[in-house]
């Protein structure tokens, strides 16, 4: 049972460290899907910029003194 629990925890942990960050990435993907269907390739630039931006944002949040990185 412990083994199964550890395996499930490991599988979830592959994709989720911080639930908020994962949720934001999914929202960006959903918005990107909408943007791509509406505006085509130019929406890709915004999609990539948002994904790169959230990387910097969450790294900054975890890098603040006193924060506890996940």
């Amino acid at each position: 049972m412990n083994f199964l629990r550890a395996a499930v925890r490991r599988v979830v942990g592959l994709f989720v460290g911080d639930w908020l960050q994962s949720a934001i990435v999914l929202v960006i993907i959903a918005a990107g899907w909408f943007g791509v269907s509406r505006f085509g390739a130019p929406a890709l630039v915004v999609l990539v910029a948002l994904l790169a931006g959230q990387l910097v944002w969450f790294a900054r949040a975890d890098g603040r003194p006193g924060s506890s990185p996940r």
Partner: protein, 240 residues
């Protein structure tokens, strides 16, 4: 050809990182409690992992439509890559301590006693659990990278080759591979997997990238630049 090489490289590098961590566990158990059961546990874990790759790999490639597969696996790959990249950024900036195989090895050894019976189930289970859990990430990388890009053989060869190279090196040196720049590898693989995930997720949305597969190089540049900006913004004196 370029795409297959890229898939092979991503699978090989990603699998190398995880294989090194699995090797540390097997070495700690084997050198402390004897080799027979840890090697059996490792073999059992490898069989389980191979079954997972074959079962899930075939299932998703043959039953899921291409666009859905790209969107779903691309998104998962993006989340997976971003997680590695996030940790790599925090380590490079000195916010998190670098992963240290010597330390992981000493910690594992300190928790183990010597085998007291002829059949050492503890050694078997520890090796099985360690290799299986570390190997789950290898399985995901191989399935995601190989299945989505129609490069299963290249991804499987990359994953297997990485495990063989790491195991052979471990056999020769009989110590944890602490000198392999594992953190740098993880950083590089994080950037590559994040780029591949973005590329495939967008293709799954119906987008066509300019220059097709070559645009992944552009994505690599963007994510690497973003990670350097993040590191510069939060840099602290290095942790031990």
């Amino acid at each position: 050809m370029g795409q297959q090489l890229f898939i092979f490289g991503a699978a090989f590098l990603g699998s190398t990182v995880e294989s090194i961590e699995a090797l540390t566990i097997v070495l700690a158990v084997g050198l402390t409690r004897g080799w027979r059961e840890p090697l059996l546990g490792t073999g059992a874990a490898l069989v389980l992992l191979a079954a997972l790759v074959l079962a899930f790999g075939q299932l998703i490639v043959t039953t899921i439509p291409d666009s859905v597969l790209k969107l779903v696996v691309g998104t998962l790959l993006l989340l997976f890559g971003l997680r590695w990249l996030h940790v790599a950024v925090l380590r490079s900036a000195g916010v998190l301590a670098m992963h240290d195989e010597e330390h992981a090895y000493s910690h594992a050894v300190s928790q183990l006693g010597e085998a007291t019976s002829r059949r050492d189930w503890v050694g078997f289970v520890l090796a099985l659990k360690g290799v299986f859990l570390e190997g789950l990430e290898v399985v995901f990388i191989v399935i995601a990278v190989g299945g989505t890009g129609h490069g299963f053989p290249a991804a499987i060869v990359g994953g297997i080759l990485a495990a063989i190279v790491v195991a052979a090196t471990g056999l020769v040196v009989r110590r944890p591979l602490a000198r392999v720049p594992e953190n740098t590898l993880k950083y590089g693989v994080g950037v590559i997997l994040t780029s591949l995930g973005t590329f495939w997720a967008a293709e799954g949305m119906g987008a066509s990238w300019p220059l097709d597969f070559v645009s992944i190089i552009g994505l690599v540049v963007v994510y690497f630049a973003a990670s350097r900006v993040a590191i510069a913004l939060i840099r602290r004196p290095a942790l031990a």
